[in-house]
């Protein structure tokens, strides 16, 4: 195997020939460099897009710290090289290597991919190939690293089942240690290697709660191509792989890696809360990240303080799925503003509810660096808002807009989605009308300086959500709706952005795919598909050709409403939210019934029965689920609804 010194030597001759060579040399502040000869197990953590996109990923940073805190293990990083660098690496025999110590990826015991979204799949294949590893799991042997993947997209692991040895379902903080320990037990360690069979290692991994090892499951299909059964073929493999969930969030990372070059989200990111109680029916993150767990104000403030000292970053983001729902949000924002307001720190607080209180919160943070204030109504008619369970009356939105413009912001960014179930052109027209109304409010308050930016994405029915039974709009439907918006929103003070329909199709195929999709992914990659998340890089024709080559019909995955009794490709993977809960919620959506925030009323989604012992061990307000009083207390199963 090529040595780190030889890799460095060869890099020296090519780095000045590629764009932004700073991506490929590491050496950042706060990285961890360990002596390979002093640890037992090595882990490569990979974000399968370029450095600029991946370096600030918080999920991988959490795992990087978890592994490096162990004395017996090390974690290093790698990212996808850009096209020019890939060409140079292939031409000069340089395999993909880690940025910390320039070890080839093939030298690691474990390779872990972060797959937060589906358009990274072809890059993951390309990275395995660039590392000189067989891309397909079946073709790897005892001499190769174990390849795992985790992240939101893995809640439907099947499209990637042929390439990844084991998937982590759910949160990674604890399970990463179980995986390392299992590797050490079966494969041994650097100082005490043991003869082992790869199959035995995979078998041992399959027994870790929250780990899905696809080779131990067999899938049978019905004549209509939907799934008949998914069956474990060894007794150790669970019928249902239930996600891992960390009952108490560990202290957030603060020693963020400080890139030496420009990168996306180059900032301190502190997660203030995980999960969301709102229950928007389109929202994947809101369904799969339950229950809600909060960090205390003190813990957040302390983390920010440490992070400023260790990184020197000029930007801070307080992350959550719904900042307004953080119990002590006013206290938090006041404390952060007081402590750090004069440090030339731009502070962002995403996902604020559409209400005037949100404007007060932003005012306290004095965040005026970006002149825009973002609101996400998602839909513009009452009917549509009831269907998606995100109900904000127009009056409330316009009142909030008035307050925003009055307090000095000149641009309001409005996020909508088209393609919600049963949406008509009237519902889309209402989006345009609402944008104009908001602009009219701005006109009144600040005149011609007022601007609206309408970001209109397209809905994709995601697995594990109440909308998993619905069809995705066709390209024709999407185009019709987008054309309507483009025609209606010609005002030069309204900027419209939208998702190209091809992007939506690709995401929908990949997120809803079954095991057969892996052949499509493989062929698309072989034919040159990569960087599918980059609009200008993605080549749609390669994908349609790949479907054709394998005799698969793209519309089968995207444009077909599902039978109510259909077995989904992801049904053996559980987010702990039950399928029958999702189905009830779906039926209520068809009737236009709104469900309130589940902090007001528990709808028995399935989290508490699954994690009841964890809840008992973590009582009180820290979780937002009801407290379980005694083991005998049943979880409330009635389904009261509001409105309708």
């Amino acid at each position: 195997m090529i040595t780190p010194a030889e890799i460095e030597n060869r890099l020296d001759k090519i780095l000045l020939k590629v764009s932004k060579p700073g991506r490929y040399v590491g050496g950042e502040m706060n990285i961890t460099i360990k002596d390979w000869a002093a640890v037992e197990t090595s882990v490569a953590l990979i974000f399968p897009d370029i450095y600029d996109i991946g370096v600030s990923n918080v999920g991988l940073k959490i795992l990087y710290d978890q592994v490096n805190q162990r004395e017996d293990a090390l974690a290093e990083r790698a990212y996808a090289p850009w096209r020019d660098m890939e060409d140079q690496m292939r031409a000069n025999g340089i395999p993909l290597y880690s940025l910390e110590t320039y070890h080839p990826l093939a030298a690691f015991d474990l390779i872990g991919f972060s797959l937060p979204y589906e358009t990274l799949y072809t890059n993951a294949l390309n990275i395995l190939d660039l590392a000189g590893l067989p891309v397909k799991s079946m073709e790897r042997d005892e001499n190769h690293p174990i390849v795992i993947a985790g992240g939101h997209a893995c809640m439907n692991p099947e499209p990637m089942h042929a390439f990844i040895d084991a998937f982590v379902i759910g949160e990674g903080e604890e399970v990463i240690h179980d995986i390392i320990n299992t590797i050490q037990k079966v494969k041994g360690t650097r100082t005490h290697p043991m003869p082992y069979q790869r199959n035995d290692l995979l078998r041992a991994l399959a027994q870790i709660p929250g780990v899905y090892v696809p080779i131990f499951y067999s899938v049978k299909y019905l004549d209509d191509n939907s799934i008949e059964t998914v069956t474990p073929i060894i007794p150790e493999a669970p019928k249902l792989v239930i996600k891992r969930m960390v009952p108490k969030l560990p202290a957030p990372p603060t020693t963020f890696i400080v890139p030496n070059i420009e990168a996306v989200h180059n900032r301190i990111s502190i997660e203030i809360m995980r999960g969301c109680t709102r229950g928007c029916r389109f929202c994947h993150a809101g369904m799969i990240n339950r229950p809600v767990r909060e960090r205390s104000v003190e813990e957040v403030v302390k983390a920010v303080d440490n992070a400023i000292r260790s990184t020197g970053f000029e930007e801070l983001a307080l992350l959550s799925l719904s900042s307004s729902d953080y119990t002590n949000i006013l206290e938090l924002v006041t404390a952060v503003g007081d402590h750090f307001g004069d440090k030339h720190l731009a502070i962002s607080l995403p996902s604020l509810r559409i209400e005037t209180v949100s404007v007060d919160l932003m005012d306290k943070l004095r965040d005026r660096r970006g002149t825009g204030f973002t609101l996400a109504p998602e839909a513009a008619t009452e009917r549509m808002r009831r269907i998606i369970n995100k109900f904000i009356p127009d009056d409330q939105l316009l009142e909030t807009a008035h307050e925003i413009y009055s307090r000095g912001w000149t641009t309001i960014k409005l996020y909508f989605m088209i393609g919600h179930p049963s949406e008509t052109l009237e519902d889309v027209q209402a989006i345009a009308d609402l944008c104009k109304k908001v602009l009219a409010v701005g006109r009144k308050v600040i005149g011609f300086k007022a601007k609206v930016h309408a970001g209109v994405s397209t809905f994709v029915p995601k697995p594990h959500t109440p909308f998993q039974w619905v069809a995705c709009d066709t390209v024709e439907q999407i185009t019709l709706k987008q054309n309507l918006l483009k025609r209606e929103l010609r005002d030069k003070n309204i900027k419209l952005s939208w998702t190209p329909p091809d992007d939506t199709m690709l995401e929908a195929w990949l997120t809803r795919g079954d095991r057969r999709m892996s052949e499509v992914i493989y062929t698309a990659w072989k034919n040159g598909a990569k960087f599918d998340a980059w609009q200008e890089e993605r080549r749609f024709a390669i994908w349609t050709a790949a479907f054709e080559e394998h005799g698969l019909e793209p519309g089968f995955y995207t444009h077909r409403p599902r039978r109510t009794d259909e077995i989904f490709p992801w049904d053996h993977i559980s987010s702990a939210v039950r399928k029958n809960f999702l189905f009830q919620d779906f039926r209520q959506s068809l009737e236009g019934q709104v469900r309130v925030d589940c902090r007001q009323h528990c709808f028995a989604c399935g989290i508490l029965p699954t994690f009841n012992s964890l809840r008992r061990e973590n009582p009180g307000e820290y979780w937002k689920c009801p407290v379980l009083k005694s083991p005998a207390q049943p979880v409330e199963t009635a389904l009261p609804v509001l409105g309708g």
Partner: protein, 208 residues
């Protein structure tokens, strides 16, 4: 107070450009707990001045930066404070206080010296001939980013030498605002592929 830092930039930091270096210093100061002075206005910028842009890929042992900070700091402890806050590849050589009113650094630089390690396979005799030809020429018209200019007046010195069995080319190039000789242009004029060389800036020369 205005402080001047002499530093070297080597290792992985060779691959970061001028703007990124600016950002790096802003963050380093924050990590070191220095209270930088910011400009007023909508996009406040820290008051930081680098003496002379160093092209991507070059290392240096003689970079200079001025920064303006609120209040007074203990100059003696500053090198240690900064050294703890810089990323690998950057090392602090000297920290001194300068007169607030002294002219901007970048207007004081007149020349830069570079030490170029040449690839082993080069025919040094031929290089020597090319150097003489360059130095004897009245003009060296070249094109860069669509503009033609004369490289010759920007070359002050070129010397070929051998050290530790490696061939070195020492250059002194003009480095005034609006008239900066670039080492890679000189190497190109000499027919030497600059991607295969290693360039280090060794000295900045200031107005008397």
């Amino acid at each position: 107070m205005r402080i001047r830092i002499t530093f070297s930039k080597t290792g992985a930091l060779r691959y970061i450009g001028h703007l990124d270096l600016h950002k790096l210093w802003e963050r380093t100061s924050r990590r070191a707990g220095l209270d930088l002075i910011y400009s007023q206005g909508f996009h406040p910028q820290p008051k930081i001045q680098l003496a002379s842009a160093l092209p991507l890929g070059f290392s240096s042992i003689c970079e200079l930066i001025d920064m303006w900070i609120n209040g007074e700091v203990d100059l003696e402890k500053l090198p240690e404070r900064l050294s703890k806050a810089v990323p690998p590849g950057l090392s602090i050589q000297k920290v001194e206080q300068v007169d607030e009113k002294s002219p901007p650094l970048q207007t004081q630089v007149i020349s830069s010296e570079y030490d170029v390690v040449l690839p082993e396979w080069l025919d040094l005799g031929a290089v020597e001939d090319k150097i003489s030809a360059c130095l004897q020429a009245d003009t060296l018209p070249r094109e860069r980013r669509g503009k033609t200019y004369d490289l010759r007046p920007l070359i002050e010195q070129l010397n070929l030498s051998e050290r530790d069995t490696q061939a070195h080319l020492l250059m002194r190039l003009t480095a005034r605002e609006g008239a900066t000789g670039r080492p890679e242009e000189v190497l190109d004029a000499l027919g030497i592929p600059y991607e295969e060389t290693r360039v280090q800036r060794t000295r900045l020369i200031f107005k008397e």
